[in-house]
């Protein structure tokens, strides 16, 4: 972590709103995409990301180490996203069809919509068939590049569980993608 960022976090920890705003600007993309990976719905992902930053602001004075800020923020986001996803599943309001609408929503400006839309849909359908726990570790590991140890800290689970969960997720995801691609 560079000194400028550390200073920004330190200032935000003292309640400086301007510094916190800069942190929101810096991390918004990562946070929204983590939430999107877990929830699978752009609108919900943005809501959860906002909520995560809001909660982070309220509790940032309790943070003791500025180096842990991003992981702590991801932890808040992950927990909120898992809750949201579970709630959506319970309410059965979110379907693959609804998710498809999200993918094509212009306001979210998916990158490379035209060429990759089919592949994107395949990925989203594949993720949808995983459990919330599996998709969470897959997103954190494969897309965000967190180490096993960091994932363990974020999700508050032992290293062994992280490894087995990631492997199961990869295996399951590969099966789903292969099946869908062969159709």
């Amino acid at each position: 972590m560079n000194e400028e960022l550390a200073e920004l976090i330190r200032q935000a920890m003292t309640g400086d709103k301007v510094s916190f705003g800069k942190l929101v600007f810096r991390y918004k993309q990562h946070i929204v995409n983590i939430a999107f990976g877990i929830i699978g719905n752009p609108h919900d992902a943005e809501e959860v990301a906002q909520e995560a930053f809001f909660k982070a602001y309220l509790a940032i004075n309790k943070l003791t180490n500025e180096a842990a800020f991003y992981r702590w923020l991801v932890r808040i986001t992950t927990n909120l996203s898992i809750d949201k996803k579970k709630m959506n599943m319970r309410q059965a309001t979110e379907s693959i069809g609804a998710m498809g609408v999200g993918v094509g929503t212009p306001q979210y400006m998916m990158e490379g919509i035209v060429k990759q839309q089919e592949n994107q849909q395949l990925i989203l359908n594949g993720l949808e068939q995983l459990t919330v726990e599996q998709r969470t570790v897959l997103v954190l590991r494969e897309l965000q590049g967190f180490s096993y140890e960091e994932i363990g800290e974020i999700l508050d689970i032992p290293l062994g569980t992280v490894k087995s969960r990631i492997n199961t997720a990869r295996l399951h995801f590969r099966e789903i993608v292969s099946r869908e691609r062969s159709c």
């Binding site: 918004k28 752009p42 809001f54 990925i123 897959l138």
Partner: protein, 166 residues
Amino acid sequence: MECKECTELLFDYGDDEFDASLKIQVNEHLGRCPSCQHDLVSISSTMNFFKINMPVLTVDRCFTKRVMERIAVEETATTFIKPMEGIGLVLATLILGMLVLVGPTVISLVMLVGTILLSLLSTAAVVLATFPLIQMSSILILGLLLLLVTVSMRHMVLHDSEEGLL
């Protein structure tokens, strides 16, 4: 190394955290096992496919503004609520204090009034028991009142039924 063991390790193989000594063993096995090689390629290509094709959301420029606005609203609410909470707490303390101070006086007053009323009732019973003339008079008055009420009601009922017949 057998295929079963190798397959279990293939998922970790691509990770930079994979144990170096195990990597040598896996490499040896992969060198002589086309099936495991195929598995490795399949896993790697699926994960690459995932990384490349996972849709990336681009949040609009107003996102930060919306977050900061929400924080500002919360802070405004807090600055209003906190003094109100303080005032409420002071008022509740005052009311409780008053109750504690005035409570014993109010309770003794209620008990005094109760005692007076009870003694008045027993006084009336004593008076009636002491003076038989008063007792007799009151019974007579009660009997007369009862008779008067019965006669009046009978009269009213008969009068109404006669009017109804007409």
